[in-house]
Symmetry: C2
Subunit: 363 residues, 2 copies
Amino acid sequence: MKNLTLKTPRGNYTVYVGNVLFLSDVIKKELFSNRKVFVVFDENVPTEFVYNIKNALKRANSDVFLHNFSSGEENKNLESVLKIASKAFEVGITRKDVFFAVGGGVVSDVVGFLSSVYMRGVGFYCVPTTLLSAVDACVGGKNGVDLPEGKNLIGTFYNPEAVFCDTAAFASLNERDIKNALGECVKYALIDGGKLWKYFIDISLNPPENNDYRHIISDNQLTEKLIFACLSVKKRFVEKDQFDKGERAVLNLGHTVGHAIEAMSDYKLSHGECVAKGIVQELRASVNMGFTDKSVLTDVISIFETLGISTDNPFLAEDEIEYIYVDKKRAGDSINIPVIISPGEYEIKNIGISEYKEFLCRL
Amino acid sequence: MKNLTLKTPRGNYTVYVGNVLFLSDVIKKELFSNRKVFVVFDENVPTEFVYNIKNALKRANSDVFLHNFSSGEENKNLESVLKIASKAFEVGITRKDVFFAVGGGVVSDVVGFLSSVYMRGVGFYCVPTTLLSAVDACVGGKNGVDLPEGKNLIGTFYNPEAVFCDTAAFASLNERDIKNALGECVKYALIDGGKLWKYFIDISLNPPENNDYRHIISDNQLTEKLIFACLSVKKRFVEKDQFDKGERAVLNLGHTVGHAIEAMSDYKLSHGECVAKGIVQELRASVNMGFTDKSVLTDVISIFETLGISTDNPFLAEDEIEYIYVDKKRAGDSINIPVIISPGEYEIKNIGISEYKEFLCRL
């Protein structure tokens, strides 16, 4: 088991990364006795996993209430928040009690937001059950729900009291789930430039047999290391920039173009797939602008290919830039875009949108 | 004009108390240029007052959008939050822009909450237009909306960037509006025990002619002083206890019983009337318990009588305690209740509910 402590203005919290965490006493260590715990779990999470959490909470002298949640993006809205709030109120969850979010990004977004506004804020614990959520969304304190007008328009910054990344949760993930996380992992590798970058370079040089990327989750120690490495990179930025006003901008690598692709595909492409495509296109633009050596782009394409992740782009760069323009319009005619100079070295560049369009379109 | 600076973990903010503030350059001082300002105003606020705010904002180089709000308690809900959010999104309010709340407690609760969750938090400015809001709710950072299950169940702690208490706003208040604030004012006088307490004692000894309490708002300097004095008392507690976990409990004086009366009257009695009745009953109980000298109770009753505020209670103490019990039940069989030993001296007592019932029922 590995621990990572995140500093926040309102106190620190610990991320536990390990296998079968809920058979250990780690919950007891993090949760005061005699608190009611309202567990919201994604209906796709294996029953046994939820059952283990319930038992661990009972061993920690908590009253446990389980609440099933259907975690499609279409349920990431205020109606879901209200529904869970009513249920929690009905069973008597008060200011001193806590919520557990057991699931992927949608569950932690909805329950994190609810925790931040329920009776003006109650305790919140996060149990990511997707690799994507474990390597990225579970730290940083951002949550949000969608409005008909757009995604994540309503939300808060609210940190959990602890995060439990249990690799046992990932056993049932399929190939697409795993690949969905790898876009973000490669992003962290590019930003870090250290061991994590070397890990992916090594994979691209010595691909596993039959391109079977289940090995990433079938070896618990490897999964732990990967999660720990990604979160360690993210930690450096979120601690310096709790409210996303500056330093965090680099974490947006691949996301300016990635979000455009995601929206243009009507969210049929997964977030991870779009981030992978976005990283490649943004890198190509920065090679064209003369900021980045072409070898970095070649390495990244080779990594994604070895991982079996397509970096082909079904959309025209001209259309993407239109989308980016509309999306960012209100901030003016230029965008801030993180640029990788070389792995581990980056800058935030402010670039005119029409200028960026040229570099993005050029092959 | 008087200024009061409130310290918070995320920076300080200033409360300006003065007459015709919006003809001065105080807004220019507090608001960066080139921000869009979405002004939500209570439909009962005089048009001229809203117009002055709009002009002051324009002089400060802001784009102004006005949004009319009907401020009954029945609109203090998430539907209102959503409606305003959609409108704000439509006119292009982004992360760097701000909301203004112009109205009483309902408007500042709804708009304060919205500001705290709109795109994960945008700037919020508060312009209280009721005396009750000016002497109490406009500082402290609490906001909230109601659920069908209860009042203020959804909310956050979120401080404004500035508060503008313009006494010009109070010119159109009627007698009931003014009296609605005086319950809280007497509460602050009891907690403070200094000049504010002396002010009310003097009033009870030398009541104004014809019991005309409009003099409180017809003399701007007096209104300023009263607001400033109440907020100065509140400041001491909220700065020590931003998230309402301890020291603020004393601000609950009169509210344990007051809230019961308010709910039992189906909110037909105003908050201020109920707080006045609550203060008197809670004081009587603490006299019965031997904590408080009877002279304090006599003084307070005399003050309220001179102010023309009825302290008669239409409900039975037995029924009130039932309500308190159901309301607080989940925190156990005892309640924390602030007790005034003498003006300026107080303690928080933990008292068994059945024991408290006895003292509350005894005349």
